[in-house]
Amino acid sequence: MRKYLSIYKATLLEELQYAKGMFLSFIGTGIHIFIFFALWKYLYSSGEKSIISGYTFAQMIWYVTFTEFLTSFSSSNIVRKTPTSDIVSGNIAYTINKPYSYTGYIFSRFFAESTIKMIINLLCSILLGIILIGPLNTFQIKYLPLIILIMFLAVIIASLIRLIISYFSFWIENSEPFQWLYKTVFLIFGVTFPLEVFPVWLQPVIRYSPVYAAVSGPVKMLVNFNINEFYGVLVSQLFYVFILVLIITIEYKKGVKKLNVNGG
Amino acid sequence: MSSVNIIEIKHLSKTFKIKEKEKGFKGSLKSIFKPKYKIKKAVNNLSLTVEKGEVIAFIGPNGAGKSTTIKMLTGILTPTKGEAIVAGINPAKQRKKLAYKIGTVFGQKEQLWTHLTPYDNFKFFGAIYDLKDYEIERRIKELNDTLELDEFINTPVRNLSLGQRIRCEIAASLIHKPEILFLDEPTIGLDPVVKENIRVLIKRMNKEFGTTIFLTSHDVGDIEKLCKRVVIINDGKVVLDDTMQNLKYNYLNRKIIEVKMKEKVNLDDEDGITILKDKEYNLKLSIDVSKKSVADVIKLLNTDKIIDINISNEPLENIIANIYKGSKK
């Protein structure tokens, strides 16, 4: 464990230099949030509605702000591009002989980057939300520890899926299109709208999908906490963490084997 | 006789303003609000003429102003002071017109489309220089004969060896029959055999097409084998402009003598002799032949006791390094 901690620390220092870049990339996120603010404002005001699918305007905006916040972590190049380029260039062969697991190495780096990202993006997100819509009245501070827990698990799930897709590169030359697909699916079914906005027949499908565990579930708890639903989210998250870890372990093993057979 | 001068550089200068940054966060802030500048004279009052058909080596240590000069001669950079006339054109004023008369090969920067064959590349570059299709075909044939591209002219560039690529780069830059070819480090990264090959081709090109060649290189072999004239610059100024022959004659007045003796000899530094190495029975001396003849030195050594002897010229590399050092003082 200590070696991963030292990778974490080293990356932390390295990434600190790029804090300015992260700040800039929040501009892009902020623009997305702003577009959704304009869209929902238009939709709420044009029908003179105060509630859509059980959400107030304020809850809807905070929902989008925090789904964007959550997805900003897993869009990191460390889980999305680094493994692919390591595999394609054959550099991964050097890391195989090292006394740590490659997946562990990637995650140590990912957590380091996420630490800095969290500080910057959390501040910016809260600031933007307050400017756009004002404080969120339905947020209850006493549930904060529980919310932090499921937020953390959500980031793990999303980044595991990203990494699983990156490891596709063991078999196919270009795994990037799958990353777009992931992004689009998550954007449409999780980031943009809460579960309740979708047609009734579609809701169960989304509820049991990783999209709910990694995005919409946890953020819903932030804007509108409910202890029963919380347990639902937690169980689903633990299930997906287990499954995804299993998949990535097998995938990596098979991938390396294939690499050895073909000589990279 | 200015009509035969294909390049005329008069008092050319280029100064850069370099932003100076202090260390740390405070320094970064300071540089945003109150930037400090340092003036660097990359090229400093440089004058030079090159005659049509010459092969000239333009050399100097890193940061001497070589590439800044080439950039000014090819129209990439505009001079701060002075002017250059290349093939009768002022590069700073008529960049595009000049482009038809010059060719450039920048060793580390590829211009070719790597997924295409050299043939397709030549067609593309031909079109860039407004050549008609039949003209391009004719030219490709000529270049093919001179540069020996036959065996790989239809293989995609990415599958070619480094040496073959450079040959194609050179051919592509000659497609429009330029009057001058600027070669910046053309043999960098090549193995000795290929280097030699490229040198032969450059020489042939100079002879057959009469192309003036302006070459920069770190490789002494390139300079020695290709160029009749050498210009050395340092700190933006010409420190030496001479023929290769003179350079060798004036600076090659040193010989290196290495001997292996039966028994130890005692020899001290004296006028004209410098002892480079003295280890047991092995001795390495540097002789200034203008002060002491080789024969005299050998007599000093007691000829009966010599097991082995090797007399050689001082390598050109050392000579050039010494000139650089001298100009610094």
Partner: protein, 263 residues
């Protein structure tokens, strides 16, 4: 003058052809990218079905959304097939590859713009035509769509060029400017009804998505030929503006060579 234009055109066509050939070297990878970009775009229709399901009372129609997505995807796609090189400007400036174009007797900007292409852009272009024609399958729609996909592609490339030309004055703002170049595409897939005030002014000026998408959608919905003319005039203005800015930048580059810190 005329032969100069003709020669430039010939080189540009060749350059575009070679770029496209390069992107197709690996056929399966190419087709896969195109297909997935198509699917990825198409899935956004789900988003709009959801939005429209809760939009009672709002002035939004599926037809409008299809036109919007069609023109945006089409223009963005075409721009990134033909002029993808403009996105590489910062890289070319920093790596010194710009120098290679400066010693050629052709327009530096056009040479750079046509030197690259994007595989997935073909998926965008196909998708653009597909949805526009689904919304209104007619010859007139096809002609209008083609016109606006072309003007949009040109305006977008010019916008990116203008933004990156600022880098000639200080390369330090590379990341910020890169972020700014993405703004029009973010706004381009949402109808203009939802934006108002200062923002709307910005979308018709600095980030000219109004001329890339919003006005063309109005033409497709209302057949107003006057608006079409305005779009064409604006396109010409953008081309001139982009060349002026880029050439000013080049002049600056020739006198400072930006990378002077590494002489």
């Amino acid at each position: 003058m005329l032969t100069e234009v003709k020669n430039q055109f010939k080189v540009s066509l060749l350059s575009i052809k070679y770029s496209i050939l390069r992107s197709m070297i690996n056929k399966s990878s190419f087709l896969f990218s195109v297909l997935l970009m198509f699917i990825s775009n198409a899935s956004f229709l789900v988003q709009w079905i959801i939005i429209l399901s809760v939009s009672d009372g709002a002035d939004l129609s599926m037809k409008q959304i299809l036109f919007l997505w069609g023109i945006m995807a089409g223009a963005y796609g075409l721009s990134n097939i033909i002029f993808c090189g403009v996105h590489y400007l910062p890289q070319y400036i920093i790596s010194g590859k710009l120098d290679a174009y400066l010693v050629q007797p052709k327009s530096v900007l056009i040479s750079i713009a046509t030197s690259q292409t994007s595989m997935s852009a073909f998926g965008d272009l196909l998708y653009g035509y597909a949805v526009v024609l689904i919304a209104s399958p007619s010859v007139i729609t096809f002609l209008y769509a083609s016109l606006f996909i072309i003007t949009g592609a040109i305006i977008y490339a010019c916008f990116v060029t203008i933004m990156y030309s600022l880098l000639f004055f200080s390369i330090n703002f590379r990341d910020l400017v890169t972020t700014l170049t993405r703004i029009p595409t973010s706004f381009g897939t949402y109808p203009e009804n939802i934006f108002s005030g200062v923002l709307k002014v910005l979308l018709y000026t600095i980030f000219p998505i109004g001329f890339i998408v919003y006005l063309p959608v109005r033409v497709l919905l209302t057949n107003n030929i006057l608006i079409a003319l305005i779009v064409i005039l604006f396109t010409i203005f953008m081309v001139v503006f982009a060349f002026v800015m880029f050439n000013m930048g080049l002049k600056r580059y020739s006198s400072t060579n930006l990378m002077n810190a590494r002489v």
